[in-house]
Amino acid sequence: MEIAIPPDLVFVILAAVTLIAAVLALQAKELIYGAIALGISFIGIAGFFVFLDAPYLAMLQIAVYVGAVVVLILFTIMLVRREQSDELLDRPEGGQGAVGLWLAGLLAVAIAGVAALAGPNLPAAPPAGNLPVSSLGLVLAAEYPIPLVILALLISAALLGALVLAKVEK
């Protein structure tokens, strides 16, 4: 059974979910709702990765960002949270919101203009090599050994720094 799904429809749905969740994450009155919306936004991005034939990256997105980073954010919210803090949160005033919307609209017009002007003349994207997931490690270890080691140094440094900060905080 062959069911073709229009790619544009998938893109629009995923973009809508991601963007609306991201806006909710910024606008939520209750910080916990903000964290949940952030998680949904991350899942939307994972959907994009699946859609773009990068399922491993999508799973990394869900496991690391939703499964660990959102957990860390929730934990931190509960760590610093007080009931009275709601009034202390400064809501963006009307003027700020209008400026933000105006800037976003300007950016959208600019991108649309560039796409309309340059889009037809651009060379077609090179076809994505149909790499199976299992060749990911091959590419990683054979072609990018230096970035891998730099990544290890970066994670080590971040971890040590976080540990030292958490230790001083106690």
Binding site: M1, M78, L79, A152, A166
Partner: protein, 120 residues
């Protein structure tokens, strides 16, 4: 059967929601729903609840949480390497082993802290 496996997963999710959703929504129609301030109180060993339930946490185990986030990323990279370990020459695995070796330093430091302090 040329259905994309991800599409099948999505259909499976829809089927699960469609078949378990009624278990939650249908009882709303027929079960008794009569608010009672005493019965709907949060359980606190039979006492009237006192104070705030969502209390502030102490910063216990926070460094472990940080380590958890970092090692989640590490684990994902290791899976990518492990899939193709038998397919690549052995010398290509040395950067990954160096990767692990470099991460042993913060892990050792964290465990040193954790074991020296009592309530980490």
């Amino acid at each position: 059967m040329a259905l994309n496996p991800w599409l099948t997963v999505i259909i499976w999710a829809i089927v699960v929601i469609a078949l378990t959703g009624p278990m939650l929504t249908l009882p709303m129609f027929w079960s008794r729903r009569k608010p009672d301030p005493f019965r709907d109180m949060p359980f606190e060993s039979g006492q009237v609840p006192q104070g705030e339930a969502r209390h502030r946490l102490v910063m216990q185990y926070y460094p472990y949480l940080l380590m958890f986030v970092a090692f989640d990323v590490v684990g994902m990279f290791l899976f990518a390497w492990g899939m193709s370990f038998t397919k690549i020459p052995l010398y290509a695995s040395f950067p990954v082993l160096l990767f692990l070796f470099l991460l042993a330093a913060p892990l050792g430091y964290a465990l040193h802290l954790a074991l020296r302090r009592e309530n980490w």
